[in-house]
């Protein structure tokens, strides 16, 4: 079975804890952190399939900044932006930076799960393509692929 690994970043601890509890109840492996810095730190150590990222986190790194850094660390991870209001600037900027989508707070867990499902589906389709591409490349350029593939495994 393919394990889903999800990272939730939100500075609202009540929200974060509750969401963790509920995801756990649903047997979903999720990690919750309360700041952008911590999120980046943990992303350097572990691979995640999807990240749910609050756009507005006063006091530390804000969502867009975090998003940009995350895309550098794990470019293939799908990131869902969580926002209190759909400001044109943040949403458009976020999408341009490679976020999968954005959802508006407050959101019911079911809806959030659907969105996560969509993200994972997109990711697996993406991964599939990459895998197939890798195989093609492997056939054509056996030497190059080895090093790239090694990076990804790490």
């Amino acid at each position: 079975m393919y394990y889903l690994r999800i990272l939730v970043v939100d500075d609202e601890v009540d929200f974060l804890d509750t969401l963790m509890n509920r995801l756990q109840l649903r047997q979903i492996k999720a990690t919750g952190v309360a700041s952008g810095e911590k999120a980046l730190e943990i992303m350097r150590q572990k691979r995640f399939d999807a990240v749910i990222l609050d756009v507005k986190m006063p006091g530390g790194m804000d969502g867009i900044e975090t998003l940009r850094a995350m895309k550098k660390i794990q470019p293939l991870t799908e990131i869902i932006l969580l926002t209190g209001y759909a400001s044109k600037e943040t949403s458009v900027e976020g999408m341009e930076l490679g976020a999968f989508d954005y959802v508006l707070k407050p959101i019911k867990l079911d809806e959030l799960l659907i969105k996560i499902g969509e993200a994972l589906e997109a990711k697996s389709a993406h991964d599939d393509k990459l895998r197939k591409g890798d195989i093609k490349k492997l056939i054509r350029f056996p030497d190059n692929i080895y090093t790239q593939g090694k990076d990804e495994q790490e």
Binding site: E12, D14, K56, G84, S87, S91, L104, K105, P106
Partner: protein, 553 residues
């Protein structure tokens, strides 16, 4: 009040312009007129002066010639020859042939006896010894009389020359036809009022003046006014009108030739000039007045319009500033509210999750818990909707551009509410301008705008009424008017209706976001929305949308 400011400004400009343009024109006109009058007057004076001089010369020459020929005749004949009347008649004939104007000719001996006479009167044998001129001619040698009646009872004058023969004087005397004087003088009577006549030293008329006075009667003119050769004097006639008199002495300063002229007559041409000038100036003034009023009106009108535009633009700016500020604030508020709402929703979700567990299912208040949680969620949802509505658009931030036919969109929107309107006996009447340009816009958002406006109109009417929807356009804009005959909007709240949470509806029926959302949508499209209303007489919303041509595919 503004009207008065513009009127005052207009009047001020007109007055100033007129003053500035009138003053030099009038000064010029008056100066020119007086200058012209002065030169005309000088001209007139020199004219009659010259006339008097020329006439006097002619008269003098005439008299001198007569005297000379008479003298020549006397010198070339002795008394015995000349006393012969046939001879005298021959001489008379020659004289008249050569010179003319002699009426008769006579010879007078030293005793004053008229010893020979040729002429139409019976004067032979008369004695002139006692006549004052007889002594004078004897002593001085030549004599020219004033005009007088004499024996013949006809105004005439004589010329006499004396000759000595054997120490005895005799006199050749001739009568000059006074008509000849009259004739010469009359030729100087110019125009309708010009007069010319001769008076002697005592002011007695020697010729018949043209108007007042008679020959040999005293004239009103004082000959002492004239000295020198030719003088011009301005006098008043009996009626007090000014008369220019030029006087020239002749006949050894015994006669005065006077030429009278009403200066007004000679200046008639001046008056013609004056009328022309007045006419030209009047036309000029008229033109200036009209142009000034016309241009000033146009200028003030333009000013007024641009002022009005500026006021409108300022109002628009203030409005959009206000809206932007509110929008920013609303966004902040939304975030602050949405975060706690998110927490609440998660918490209730968690409670729900926990309630699924076996032990709670048996709890006596399980249903109550569950219901409460559902209610909380319901109200969270309600709050969420408010916040999302406040921001206008829950999901789609960017308007989707598609080809939109405004009339068609309106028709679709009207279809949606027609039933509801009919139930309330509200008629929706449309009058669309055909062939509105197809524009690139967001049909769904426009539909939301139209729907909100029609719903507002229906709410304003309540029951039984009429909604008129019209469209119109020019090259750059499309206008959509929604007019209802409902209760109307009070003037003092007209600028508040686009604010968020402003509502006149009963609590629970509306939260006052409809017009705000409309305002934002239209604003984002680059259009505008305005309201016109008089309390009690319905309201009219005018939506203006810029014509954005769809890109060619």
């Amino acid at each position: 009040m503004y009207e008065m400011i513009y009127r005052r400004l207009q009047n001020k400009i007109i007055l100033l312009t007129l003053l500035v343009s009138f003053t030099p024109l009038l000064i010029l006109g008056v100066t020119m007129y007086y200058q012209f009058m002065r030169s005309s007057r000088a001209n007139t004076e020199s004219q009659i002066k010259y006339r008097a001089y020329a006439r006097a010369e002619a008269l003098n020459r005439f008299l001198k010639e007569r005297t000379a020929i008479l003298g020549a005749m006397a010198d070339t004949h002795n008394i015995s020859e000349i006393s012969d009347e046939t001879r005298l008649a021959r001489i008379f004939e020659i004289m008249n042939a050569r010179c003319g104007a002699f009426v008769d000719l006579g010879v007078i001996d030293d005793q004053g006896r008229h010893i020979a006479y040729v002429g139409p009167y019976d004067l032979k044998g008369r004695n002139y010894f006692d006549q004052p001129w007889f002594a004078e001619v004897v002593s001085k040698g030549a004599y020219m009389s004033d005009v007088y009646m004499g024996y013949r009872k006809m105004p005439h004058f004589i010329i006499a020359v004396r000759r000595h023969e054997n120490w005895k004087p005799w006199i050749l005397r001739a009568t000059i036809d006074p008509e000849i004087l009259n004739e010469i003088v009359r030729s100087a009577q110019i125009g309708k009022t010009g007069d010319a006549y001769i008076i002697n030293r005592n002011g007695v008329y020697e010729t018949q003046p043209r108007f007042d006075g008679r020959i040999l009667f005293e004239s009103d003119l004082d000959p002492n006014l004239f000295g020198g050769q030719v003088d011009v004097v301005e006098l008043k006639d009996k009626n007090g009108r000014p008369v220019l008199c030029a006087g020239s002495w002749l006949k050894n300063n015994k006669w005065l030739l006077v030429i009278e002229q009403d200066p007004a007559e000679l200046m008639e041409e001046l008056f013609a000039v004056r009328y022309t000038e007045i006419l030209i100036i009047s036309i000029g003034l008229m033109a200036i007045i009209l142009t000034t009023i016309f241009t000033t009106r146009i200028t003030v009108k333009h000013l007024k319009e641009s002022d009005k535009k500026m006021v409108e633009m300022n109002a628009k700016l203030v409005q959009s500033d206000k809206m932007a500020a509110i929008g920013k604030m609303a966004a902040g508020v939304a975030h602050e509210i949405n975060n706690p709402l998110a927490v609440i929703l998660q918490k209730t979700g968690w409670i729900e999750d926990l309630l699924e567990e076996e032990e709670f299912q048996e709890s006596e208040n399980f249903k109550e818990f569950r219901l409460s949680v559902l209610k909380i969620e319901e109200h969270v949802e309600r709050a969420r909707k408010v916040v999302h509505n406040m921001l206008g658009f829950a999901r789609k931030m960017e308007p989707r551009l598609e080809d939109v036919d405004i009339n068609e969109t309106l028709n679709q929107t009207i279809d949606m509410v027609e039933n509801y309107a009919r139930i309330n006996n509200i008629q929706i009447q449309v009058d669309f301008t055909k062939d509105l340009p197809i524009i690139a816009s967001d049909q769904a958002q426009l539909q939301q705008v139209f729907l909100n406006l029609i719903n507002n109109a229906i709410d304003a009417i309540g029951k039984d009424g009429l909604i008129e929807i019209t469209t119109d356009c020019n090259d750059t804009e499309i206008y959509i008017n929604f007019k209802d005959d409902g209760s109307g909007i009070a003037e003092d709240v007209q600028n508040k209706i686009f604010d968020p949470f402003y509502t006149t509806k009963v609590t629970g029926k509306g939260i006052g976001l409809g017009l705000w959302v409309i305002y934002n949508i239209i604003n984002k499209m680059g259009g505008s929305i305005k309201v016109q209303s008089v309390m009690g007489h319905g309201a009219k919303f005018i939506v203006t949308i810029p014509v954005v041509k769809p890109e060619k595919k």
